[in-house]
């Protein structure tokens, strides 16, 4: 989240594990450094001892010089844009970010191994300094990065990027996927480069420093220094323009955006060859989105890649990719859905692969629609006791064991129990509403419901008093609703969890759930009270479950659960929640987000489900640091840390 949109949540992890849809994001880069990560791995002795790790990380081995590493994509989740200012529509494919970061180094990037925080070793920026009541932010830059045309990556390149983002957002906010109204870049009154490697940003309104750093400056992909002396043109071969003039910035943005969204330009335009990342894009196949790249000799980061080429290869389905893996045709897979890949682990091991998985930082949730008036569901679900009763009916431990075969982490709130963050509240680890059908039934009975396990539970005592159902719920209202989940052709676990939950709810508490499968784009676009286009569907869905959202390192639910939030798909509306989110974004407390997450866990604005591992298969011929493998599980590639083994 992050970012995105402001904030935090930015992006949705829609579709999550398969990622086919997701916007996932990017997140951070690796930080900590390779040395620390390797030390961690060896001191633990075996990666298996890492909490929450499924399987074993690829072994380190010894790096050889040269060779090519191939990286798998799924059709439908291939990069849509090469230009690192990613629009709303393009952000729905998270691989756009991974792809861009192979060639352009973001201002801030992470994670640092398993730790969900910025790794300054893989960032252009150093830790920023906040002053003037958090309204002035000074960003020192590392001086070691260079463009492949020989120019250094300096303060002007960061100013250039921010200027273009401002021009983009002025046209329409949908041009910038990380946009949240009132926040970056609208909150910036000025940006300047007082010295070659220092940028100063003045904010109109003070933000929580943790929020601004982790969710705005680091937000996925939001901010990436761009070659200001080469890309400041508005036509091929056109004059170099002064981009600090808004009219010029708009022209430049329009040109680059159009070029960057044209798949056929990816492999041909000389502009995209000017990069500061570990690799430079060489060819891009417009028919299947496969691509090749070569090592960037000018890469200023460390380590320099020891192999020659990184290639992206596209497969039409997880099954197709698994078949390719079994014939040894691919080095590093895409992230798999646990239920798809785990039965294949023995044969993949036999074919020479390591298989490991780890949850990404994010939330997996079934979203309640607080506006669905069918059977008075809006009134029913508005009652906290009703949501809590549903939470009691969810058997997370059984789902993790049975559905995910262990490749998932428990999550009872917006911050999962794994991976670790500095802000994880206790009630995300120890559930407030652990699986207990009897408590669910008792809760409903105590609020005036006639509970008929296996049948249809109805409201017996309407009214607003204690022991009564609540306002807007007439006598005889059935506790029933429709529930749409992501089609299993995209990803399987949503359907299986939905089925398990619906079955339990009916058998234990007489709550009837009508299930249906839908494509991700349909769910996300239409079953969405925050989208004007969703209005005509608002009574078609009581709950939707398409996966969830990724979190930024400061895991606020801003834009998810605040009133009017960009991703508040079910229109949850709660004054206390709004205030707590406001504190996370605009306050000064370093524990604001923990308090917020704790309140979310208590009020259950959505039904939180286990956080699935992103499971990868990596050829035993390929080595890399442990941190680079953990980064993959956060949708982040650090190809400079990979190598072909001797």
């Amino acid at each position: 989240m992050r970012s995105s949109w402001g904030s935090t949540f930015g992006a949705a992890r829609w579709g999550r594990a398969v990622g086919r849809t997701g916007a996932q994001r990017s997140r951070r880069v690796f930080v900590g450094g390779a040395v620390a990560a390797v030390a961690l791995l060896t001191s633990v002795g075996s990666a298996g001892a890492v909490t929450g790790l499924f399987g074993a990380l690829p072994s380190a081995g010894t790096a050889a010089t040269g060779g090519t590493i191939t990286f798998g994509y799924l059709t439908g989740a291939t990069p849509l844009t090469v230009f690192p200012i990613t629009s709303d529509a393009q952000a729905s494919v998270y691989t756009s970010f991974e792809f861009q970061y192979d060639f352009w180094v973001p201002l801030y990037n992470g994670p640092d191994g398993q730790n969900q925080e910025i790794d300054y070793a893989v960032s252009v920026g150093k830790k920023p300094i906040f002053s003037d009541g958090n309204k002035t932010v000074t960003i020192p830059l590392n001086s070691n990065y260079k463009w492949s045309n020989g120019q250094p990556v300096d303060a002007n390149d960061l100013v250039f990027d921010v200027d273009l983002i401002q021009a983009a957002v002025k046209e329409t906010p949908a041009n910038f996927s990380s946009f949240t109204p009132g926040l970056f870049p609208q909150n910036i009154t000025s940006i300047s480069a007082p010295s070659k490697y220092t940028v100063v940003i003045h904010l109109a309104k003070a933000l929580n420093p943790d929020f601004f750093l982790n969710d705005e400056l680091e937000s996925e992909g939001a901010i990436v220094p761009l070659p200001s002396t080469a890309w400041n043109i508005a036509a091929a071969g056109g004059p170099h323009l002064n981009y600090t003039i808004p009219a010029n910035a708009k022209k430049i943005y329009d040109y680059l955006e159009k070029l960057g969204s044209s798949i056929s330009s990816f492999g041909t335009s000389p502009l995209w060859r000017i990069a500061d990342g570990p690799f430079v894009l060489k060819t891009f196949n417009a028919s299947n989105s496969s691509w090749t790249s070569t090592r960037n000799p000018d890469f200023g980061g460390s380590p320099k890649p020891a192999y020659n080429a990184l290639d992206g290869v596209t497969y039409t389905s997880q099954t197709a990719m698994i078949n390719a893996l079994k014939t040894g045709a691919l080095d590093i897979s895409t992230n798999f859905d646990p239920s798809t890949i785990i039965p294949q682990v023995p044969s993949l091991k036999a074919a020479g692969y390591s298989v490991y998985g780890y949850p990404d930082l994010g939330l997996t949730d079934a979203i309640f629609n607080f506006k669905d008036t069918t059977d008075h569901f809006n009134s029913v679900i508005a009652q906290p006791y009703a949501r809590q009763a549903l939470a009691y009916l969810e058997d997370e431990p059984a789902y993790i064991t049975g559905i995910f075969k262990g490749a998932a982490g428990a999550a009872y709130g917006p911050v999962p129990s794994v991976p670790p963050t500095p802000f994880t509240p206790a009630d995300s680890v120890n559930p407030l509403y652990p699986y207990s059908p009897s408590k669910a039934v008792a809760l409903l009975k105590s609020h005036g419901w006639n509970v008929v396990p296996g049948g249809q539970t109805t409201c017996a005592k309407p009214g607003t008093g204690a022991g009564e159902c609540g306002p807007g719920i007439p006598k005889g209202t059935p506790f029933k609703f429709s529930w749409a989940y992501l089609t299993p052709a995209t990803q399987a676990f949503e359907s299986v969890i939905s089925e398990a939950f619906a079955s339990e709810a009916k058998a234990a508490a007489g709550i009837n759930i009508a299930l249906s499968a839908k494509a991700f784009n349909f769910l996300f676009g239409n079953y969405n009270d925050a989208n004007p286009a969703g209005a005509k569907y608002t009574n078609d869905w009581g709950v939707e479950f398409f996966g969830g959202f990724t979190d930024d390192y400061w895991p606020t639910t801003n834009s998810l659960f605040n009133t009017g939030g960009t991703y508040n798909q079910g229109d949850f509306d709660n004054a206390t929640m709004n205030q707590l989110i406001h504190n996370s974004v605009y306050g000064t407390s370093t524990s604001a987000v923990t308090q917020e997450a704790s309140y979310v866990a208590k009020t259950v604005p959505a039904l939180f489900a286990p956080n699935p591992d992103l499971v990868y298969a990596v050829s035993n011929k390929i080595g890399g640091t442990a941190a680079s493998w953990f980064a993959l599980t956060q949708y982040q590639t650090f190809p400079e840390y990979w190598y072909v083994k001797k």
Binding site: T319, G402, I403, T487, T490, S503, E504, A517
Partner: protein, 306 residues
Amino acid sequence: MEGVPPFGSPNIPTTAPEGGEVALITSGWRLAAHEFFSNRLAVVGLGIIVFFIVFCFLGPIVYPTNQTLTQPLLSDMAPAAAHLLGTDDNGFDEFGRIMVGGQTALEIGFFAAFMATVIGTLYGALAGLVGGIVDAVLMRFVDILLSIPLLFIVLILATRYHATLISQSLIIGLFSWQAPSRLVRGEVLTLRVRDFVTAARIMGGTRRRLILRHLIPNALSVVIVNITFLIADSILLIAYLGFLGFGLAYPTASWGDMLGNAQDAVSSGYWWLVYPVGACLVLVVMACNLVGDALRDAFDVRLRKR
């Protein structure tokens, strides 16, 4: 092969008799039955269909299993004494699931075929009887619908509508009546000029009576043949929808969805989730096709002989 169009191209011309010389012989149906039962594959096909109807609808009485309460902790277990064909990803007994899924598959097949046949028969009879410009317009509309592959239509509608037993049967039924309508119209066109129809008309029979008592019974043979193919095609179509991710949702399951959802199982070693249900589906679809094929031959004989 008429009548057995390659999947997705509904309009291979069914060679159904666009006519044929007619002379009434009362033993026509008996001739057809004789011809049918002399086709050994058809008899085997009929046996397979009967077996699966019994297996799916009576099987759960003999072999009762839990098919409503999911049990994640029992998921994906290999076959054992307690679960003859193991369990699926919801922890349902796969053997029992095949019975339940077979009920749905057969129900959708029959229901869709029934709907398509009713609509197609009425539509075709109307066009054939009224004739003229109405007929031309009606039949061009059929041509148009026939030119859009059914799979496309169903997939497009599936993006919006919830897939349930009823809705899938309805959609399939509502968009597969064109072939029967053509067949019936063809029959009507040839029948209406025949002696017995003329005779009935002269004797003062109303148009409604004509349709009900004379034309439809005579068109019945082509319709019956078509029903068997429709059932087979509907069951297959559900499988494709399942494979493409738009199959039925829990608690309903059909063979097609089970097969479509278990595609990974081919290579994962969870063989019990894919081969048994695949075999059932193929057997029943094949049986329907065999029976339909033999029926057509049999009715051909009837037509030839009379």
